[in-house]
C-alpha cells in the first residue's frame, strides 16, 4: 500500500479480537506529524482499543503499527516514548505532584538538576508550580488533570495519546481544558491522538476526526467535512443532530441529485459518494439550516408542514414539525418569532444544506 511521506503513524490493516469478539476490524489509518486527530465513537466502537494498541498495552491480533516508518509491534510500552493521559489520570497517589512529573525523567536517567528544571517548566506550563509538593489526593479534578498532562508532556514524547482525558470534569472546566490543550498542541507542535465520545469536543479540538463504529472507521476528515458532509447515516446521526428523511433518487446531475420523498415532495440535494436513479436513500438535513416562514419563500427546497410543538431553549427555539409523511425538527435563532402549535409553515433549505446518504 502506498503511504504518504509525511505520515508519522500508520495503522496497517489492524485487527483485534478479544476471544471471539472482534473489536477492531481490518483498520487502516495514517496520522501526520504535528497533527491532532480525534478518534470519535460510541463506547465499544474500538477507538480506545486502537489507542491501547498504539501505546503498547494491547497487541493487535494481526496487522502492523508503524511509527516513523518502522513497525513497533514488538517494542514494549516503556520503550515506545509515547505520553499517555489516562481517563482517570492515573497519578501515583504515593508521590507528590513534583515526583509524579519527575518520574518519566528519572526513568530516562536524567541528572537531578536537569530534572528539577524540566519539572519546574512543565508545571509552570500548566500553572501548577505552587502545588509541587501536594499529593494528588489534595488536588481538585482539574488540577489532577493538568498534572497528568504535564507528566505526559515533560519528557517530550514523540506522540501524545489521550484517552477521554476530560470525561471526569464538569462542563465549564472541560471547555476551558479543551482550549488549553488545543493551545499546547499548536505551541509545542505535538502529535496528538485523542479518544473521545463527545462529538463537540472532537470538533472543537481536532485537525481531523475519525468516526468509529463497530471496529471500523466510518469517515475521517476535518471537523467541517464530517459535520457538513457526513458520508454515512451513522456519522450524520452521531455528530450533531439531524433530520433523516427517506426518499428515492429521481435524477443525478453532477454533485446534485433530485430526490422524491414519500410525501411526494421533490428535493434537490448535495451528494457524497455515488448514487444512481431509482435508489432508495436518506436525506440528512441539519435542523439549524432549516428556515420557517408562513409564505412559500424562494429557497430551492420547500416543504409544507404544520407546527406540533415549540420549545424555547435559551440560545435557540426548537420547533417540531410534521409534513404529510415525515416529522421534522428545526432549530431557529433566539430572535425568531414564536410558532404556536397548529401553525401552517413552510420549511425551506438550500441544496447545499442537505445531503444524500446511501443507506
Amino acid at each position: 500500500m502506498e503511504h504518504s511521506v509525511a505520515e508519522f503513524i500508520r495503522f496497517d490493516r489492524i485487527t483485534k479480537f478479544y476471544g471471539p469478539l472482534c473489536v477492531v476490524e481490518n483498520l487502516d489509518l495514517g496520522i501526520e506529524k504535528g497533527e491532532f486527530v480525534s478518534l470519535l465513537g460510541p463506547s465499544g466502537s474500538g477507538k480506545t482499543t486502537l489507542l491501547m494498541m498504539l501505546a503498547g498495552f494491547e497487541q493487535p491480533t494481526s496487522g502492523n503499527i508503524l511509527l516513523d516508518g518502522t513497525a513497533i509491534n514488538d517494542v514494549p510500552t516503556h520503550k515506545r516514548d509515547m505520553g499517555v493521559v489516562f481517563q482517570s489520570y492515573a497519578l501515583f497517589p504515593h508521590m507528590s505532584v513534583g515526583e509524579n512529573v519527575a518520574f518519566p525523567l528519572q526513568m530516562r536517567g536524567l541528572g537531578k538538576a536537569d530534572i528539577a528544571g524540566r519539572v519546574a517548566r512543565a508545571l509552570d506550563m500548566v500553572q501548577l508550580s505552587a502545588l509541587v509538593d501536594r499529593r494528588p489526593s489534595q488536588l481538585s479534578g482539574g488540577q489532577q488533570q493538568r498534572v497528568a498532562l504535564s507528566r505526559a508532556l515533560v519528557f517530550e514524547p514523540r506522540v501524545v495519546l489521550m484517552d477521554e482525558p476530560l470525561g471526569a470534569l464538569d462542563k465549564q472546566l472541560r471547555e476551558q481544558m479543551q482550549l488549553d490543550i488545543r493551545d499546547l498542541h499548536r505551541r509545542l507542535g505535538l502529535t496528538i491522538v485523542f479518544v473521545t465520545h463527545d462529538q463537540s469536543e472532537a470538533l472543537t479540538m481536532s485537525d481531523r476526526v475519525a468516526v468509529f463504529n463497530k471496529g471500523r472507521i466510518e469517515q475521517i476528515g476535518t471537523p467541517r467535512q464530517v459535520y457538513d458532509e457526513p458520508a454515512t447515516r451513522f456519522v450524520a446521526e452521531f455528530i450533531g443532530e439531524t433530520n433523516l428523511v427517506e426518499g428515492v433518487v429521481d435524477a443525478v446531475q453532477g454533485q446534485e441529485a433530485n430526490v422524491r420523498l414519500v410525501s411526494g415532495d421533490s428535493i434537490v440535494s448535495a451528494v457524497s459518494g455515488t448514487v444512481t436513479p431509482g435508489q432508495t436513500v436518506f436525506l440528512s438535513i441539519r435542523p439549524e439550516r432549516v428556515d420557517l416562514s408562513e409564505i412559500r419563500g424562494d429557497a430551492r427546497n420547500c416543504l409544507e408542514t404544520e407546527v406540533t410543538d415549540s420549545v424555547y431553549q435559551g440560545d435557540h427555539l426548537r420547533v417540531q414539525l410534521q409534513n404529510a409523511a415525515h416529522p421534522l425538527i428545526a432549530k431557529l435563532s433566539r430572535r425568531s418569532r414564536e410558532f404556536p402549535p397548529g401553525t401552517k409553515v413552510f420549511a425551506g433549505f438550500s441544496a447545499g444544506d442537505c445531503r444524500v446518504i446511501a443507506p
Binding site: 503498547g56 516503556h78 516514548d81 509515547m82 495519546l161
Partner: protein, 392 residues
Amino acid sequence: MTAGRSKTGRSLLLLLPLLLFLVGFFVWPLFSMMSQSISDTAVLRLLPRSTEVLAGWDRQSPPTPEMQAALMEDLKAVDDDQALGDMVRRLNSARSGFRTLMGKTTTALGDTTNPPADLVSIDTRWEKPEFWLAIADALSPLTDRNLLAAVDLGRNAAGEIEHLPADKSVNRVILVRTFWIAALVTFACACIGFPYAMIAASLSGWKRDLMLGAVLLPLWTSLLVRTAAWFILLQERGLINELLQTIGLIDSPLPLIFNRTGVIIAMTHVLLPFMVLPIYSVLLTIPKNLMPAAASLGAHPLRAFLRVLLPLSLRGVASGSLLVFISAIGYYITPALIGGPGDQMISSIIAFYATGSANWGMAGALGVVLLVATLLLYSVYARLSAEEPGRR
C-alpha cells in the same frame, strides 16, 4: 431536643447489655489476672498481729519480745494447712531456710504440754533480723516479684532490681523464642502471601475465585482440624515422609513433627489467610491504570513494580504482618500439639503455671507481658488500617 435525647437514650439502652457483659466477663477477668500478678496476701492474711507490731520495727535491730509473741500468737491461730503452705513457700522464696525453720517452729508451737517461751528458744535463727526482714517485706499486699520474674528480673537482699541467675532465666528464653517463632512465621507468610495476593489480584473470573477460595476454606475450617491434618501429614509415617521416600528423595523419615519445622509449617498454614486477605484488599484499591501509566512514562516493568506497586501495597503487607504476628505470639494449640518441648511459646508457659502448678501470680504476670505486647501491636495495626489511602 426531646426526640434527640430519647434517641440517645435508646442507643445507650441497646449498647448497655453487651457493655456490662464485656466489662464483667472480659475486662474484669483481665484485671483480676493483672491483680493476681501483683497481689500477694499469702503472708498478710495469716499474720494480722505481727503486721501491727512489725510496723514499728526499725528493720535492723534484733527482734523484740513483742514481735516474737505476736508471731507466735499468729502462728498458733493458723488452722488452714494449705494457707500455711502458701505462706511458707512465699517466705522461702524470699529467704531460703524458712521451710525448715517454719516446720520446726510450728511443731514446737503445737506441743501444748511443753510450750516454748519464745521463738529464739525454738531456733536461734529467729534472732537474725534477715528472717524478720523477709516477713516484714512479705506482709505488703502488693508485689512486683511476679512481674519482674516474668522478664527474669528479681530483687536482691538490698531491694535493688537485678537479673536472675542464668539457671533461673527461663522466661526470657521463652519470650525471645515466642517472638522469634512469630517473626519466622510472619516472614514465611509474607514471602508466600504477597506474591499470592498479587497473582490473585491480577486474575479475574474463576481463576481468582479459586485462589481466594483456597485461602478462605482453611480460614473457615476448624483450627483443630487443620492442626490434626498437619499432625497426620508430618508424622514419621505421614504422607509427606512416605511420599518423599517413595520417590526416593530420602532414605529415612525426616523429623518433621514435635520440632520447630513442624510448628513453623503448621502455623504458616494457619495464619497465611491473615496475610493474603489484607494485601489482596489493598491491591484491589490500587487503580488498574497505574502500572500501564508507569510503563508509558518509560518505566521497565521491574522498576514500575518497585516504584509504584510495591510502595502502594506496603500498607497491606504491614497490616497483614502485624495481624499474623499478633496472632502468632498468642498461639497455644499448634505449638502444644505439633511442637516439641523446645518449641513451647509463652502461652504454653502461662497455661502451665495456671493449670499445672496453680501459680496464679506467675501466670498472671506472664499474661500481662503477653497482653501488653499484643495490645501495643494491635494499636499500631488499628492506626494503620484506619488511615485513609492517599487518594480519592
